[in-house]
């Protein structure tokens, strides 16, 4: 039984005098307790908008959310705002990319953490500040008693992100959504944060949705991976399966275009031509078709559906002409 169940999610932004923008469409995925699910894609693929929809943080006006988002059986898309607020922070928490804008700059870190504890866990002031200190300690902030009194700008970027994670953990959320949590950080700090998130999933059975553009991050921690392109999921598989045998030309292209630290140097990278802007609307075919090396005629005549891969088990694919497994060797090596 999955904790979060997203079915056929669509998000359409509309504005007076402008064309509607379908930012997310046909997005379906689920996350079970203790599971880590990755949403991977480049800027504008709809991964962040999806996370905001789950959190109920999209603007009420101008954003139409379709489909269903069920959290532990409760439908979130139709949940009243006050119920959603109760859920948010207590059962579902989110960590954003930029820790500075997510923390209130004029309130000490300690107060921001204890406020969450007092509101959602009904702690008194003394218990809350004790719990806050232990939370900071847990996320690896040294000397937590002193840090609690400090303001966000007095902490380094890595510390702030850890403080933010501490806040997200304050209520022992059952679902944590991390939206590019390490993109603004240095790699050595990133390694610390990722380690922290992994521990959290293992120790407390939190379900984690990891949103990132970094395939390396996904490879190390996600049980299943959803690759998004232009608002839709184009490939889904376990990380083992996905990195072993990427079937969608976009996934394979991404993998072939990043240099790997552990591979011999000197081979040319194989970039994906064009840019993520060079898409066609899904109504006219596959959005990736203009950039796709495997494009065939049917790709620009209608949109492919996300269906189970015939050749590989536990692998879904939205492609008319996927890379076949034998050809695979040539692409990944």
């Amino acid at each position: 039984m999955s904790l979060l169940d997203v079915r056929d999610l669509s998000i359409v932004f509309s504005r007076r005098g402008r064309r509607d923008v379908r930012a997310v469409d046909e997005v379906t995925f689920s996350v079970a307790a203790g599971e880590t699910v990755g949403l991977v894609g480049e800027s504008g693929c709809g991964k962040s908008v999806t996370s905001l929809a789950i959190m109920g943080l999209l603007p009420k006006r101008g954003a139409a959310v379709g489909g269903s988002i069920k959290f532990d059986g409760t439908e979130l898309t139709s949940l009243p705002a006050d119920k959603m607020r109760g859920l948010r922070g207590r059962d579902i928490a989110m960590v954003f990319q930029d820790p500075m804008t997510s923390l209130n700059p004029v309130i000490p870190i300690g107060l921001q953490v204890t406020e969450v504890l007092r509101r959602h866990r009904d702690m008194d002031a003394a218990a809350a500040s004790k719990e806050a200190a232990s939370l900071l300690e847990r996320v690896g902030i040294p000397d937590p008693a002193r840090r609690l009194k400090e303001y966000p700008h007095q902490l380094s970027g890595g510390m702030r992100q850890r403080a933010l994670i501490a806040m997200a953990l304050a209520c022992k959320p059952r679902l944590l959504i991390a939206d590019e949590p390490t993109t603004a950080l240095d790699v050595t700090i990133q390694a610390q944060i990722l380690e922290l998130l992994k521990e959290l999933v293992v120790d407390s059975g939190t379900a984690l949705v990891m949103i990132t553009h970094d395939l390396g991050v996904v490879a190390g921690m996600c049980d299943s991976v959803h690759v998004m392109y232009s608002g839709r999921i184009v490939e889904r598989a376990s990380r083992w399966e996905l990195f072993e045998a990427p079937r969608h030309p976009y996934t394979a292209g991404l993998l072939a275009s990043v240099p790997r630290l552990d591979q011999a140097r000197g081979e040319k990278l194989e970039p994906i031509p064009g840019s993520p802007r060079d898409t066609i609307p899904w109504t006219q075919g596959c959005a990736f078709a203009p950039r796709c090396r495997n494009r065939i005629e049917s790709c620009t005549q209608g949109a492919p559906e996300l269906v189970a891969d015939k050749l590989r088990p536990d692998h879904d694919l939205r492609c008319f002409n996927p890379i076949d497994v034998a050809e695979q060797e040539a692409v990944t090596l």
Binding site: V187, V258, L261, S275, P276
Partner: protein, 369 residues
């Protein structure tokens, strides 16, 4: 400061080295005061760097934010004025050039910036961006030559000829970076310093720019210094890699050897922290987690700069003696007192190191994932 005797001082340079930097420092004064500014300290952004770049090769500078790599790149071009040290470019003492001479020297050393949109004047069309250097240095004879050169440049970076009439905001990130590269190429420079040339771009675009830079190097015999935080990208493009930490080089190595055997504890930790897009590799890797943050460059730790976070720290020397960047094997330089012992496996990373003097630091641990 950290310049060691074994390097010839001053203008010493090999015939093949296009660029030689010795003891380069960039110290920014920290000023305080209400009416009269008083200098109360210095941010040592670059604190004594020696490096040599051979003609036609790529030197990669890596390090985390705040390590001074970008400042170093800019100081070499004197876009930021160094406070000490020498820069010798093709035998010319760059720091001795004044006014018009410096301006003329600039045509031979160019820069590619991180954020292609910020580095292009939003009010200039691509044509104007590309003719500006030509006009500045009196290229060719007037408009016809300039137009011809603009077409050449667009072609060489893979942009259509009609791009000339368009403005930076009309392009995608990758195309803008191509414009930035075309501008850097306009005056046929010998050296290009690329400061994070791909980090602002989408993943699928990065390889396009990396490949373009490599092709241009082959075609035009360019010499590059590539400054980046992404070690995988730097390793891919560079012949030699310099790893920076708190304003100084801690390791320099041919890039083929660096992943196989990093020598400096910081490089070891940095390398182990970089995720690799392959679950099988990720599962097997030993990750050395550094705890704590980078100390402030205004207040660098005494002794080895890295000792406050170093999982291999030893009780002797590390905290009070600054290690020199020394060549312990042909082509491999490292600034660590115990590099040989670490490489030989005599010193293992500490399970738990605690220094009561450094509360900021926390405890480095080793996690095998």
């Amino acid at each position: 400061m950290s310049t060691e005797k074994q390097q010839p001082a001053g203008n010493g340079r090999d015939a093949e080295n296009l660029l030689s930097v010795r003891g380069l420092q960039v110290h920014f004064p920290i000023k305080k005061g209400i009416l009269v500014d008083r200098v109360v300290g210095h941010v040592k952004a670059v604190d004594g760097v020696d490096l040599d770049v051979a003609k036609g090769t790529t030197y990669g500078l890596v390090g985390e934010s705040g390590c001074g790599k970008s400042t170093l790149g800019r100081a070499i071009l004197r876009l930021i004025e160094p406070t000490a040290g020498t820069i010798s470019f093709d035998g010319v003492d760059v720091r001795a050039q004044r006014g018009e001479d410096m301006r003329r020297l600039r045509r031979r050393m160019q820069m590619v910036f991180q954020d292609p949109l910020a580095s292009l004047d939003p009010r200039q069309s691509v044509e104007s961006v590309l003719t500006e250097p030509l006009r500045t240095h009196g290229y060719g004879n007037g408009k016809a030559d300039h137009a011809k050169r603009v077409r050449e440049l667009l072609d060489v970076v893979g942009l259509p000829a009609n791009a000339a009439g368009r403005y930076p905001h009309e392009f995608s990130g990758g195309q803008r970076q191509r414009v930035g590269i075309a501008r850097a190429l306009a005056l046929s420079p010998d050296l290009i310093i690329a400061d994070e040339p791909v980090s602002a771009l989408d993943v699928s675009i990065q390889a396009q720019i990396v490949n373009l830079l490599e092709e241009l190097q082959e075609q035009l015999g360019l010499t590059y210094i590539v400054v980046a935080h992404d070690l995988a990208v730097v390793r891919h493009v560079s012949d030699t890699i310099g790893v920076m930490y708190l304003g100084a080089l801690v390791e320099e190595s041919p890039s083929d050897d660096l992943y196989a055997e990093p020598l400096h504890p910081y490089t070891i930790a940095l390398m182990s922290a970089i995720p690799i897009p392959d679950p099988k590799v990720e599962e097997r890797r030993e990750r050395i987690l550094l705890t704590g943050d980078l100390p402030s460059p205004a207040n660098t730790p005494p002794g080895c700069r890295f000792h406050t976070r170093c999982p291999f720290r030893q009780p002797k020397r590390c905290a009070d003696e600054l290690p020199a960047l020394r060549e312990i094997r042909p082509g491999r330089k490292v600034a660590c007192h115990y590099a040989e012992d670490i490489a030989a496996g005599h010193i293992r990373p500490a399970e738990s190191v605690h220094d009561p003097a450094a509360t900021e630091v926390g405890t480095p641990t080793v996690v095998a994932s």
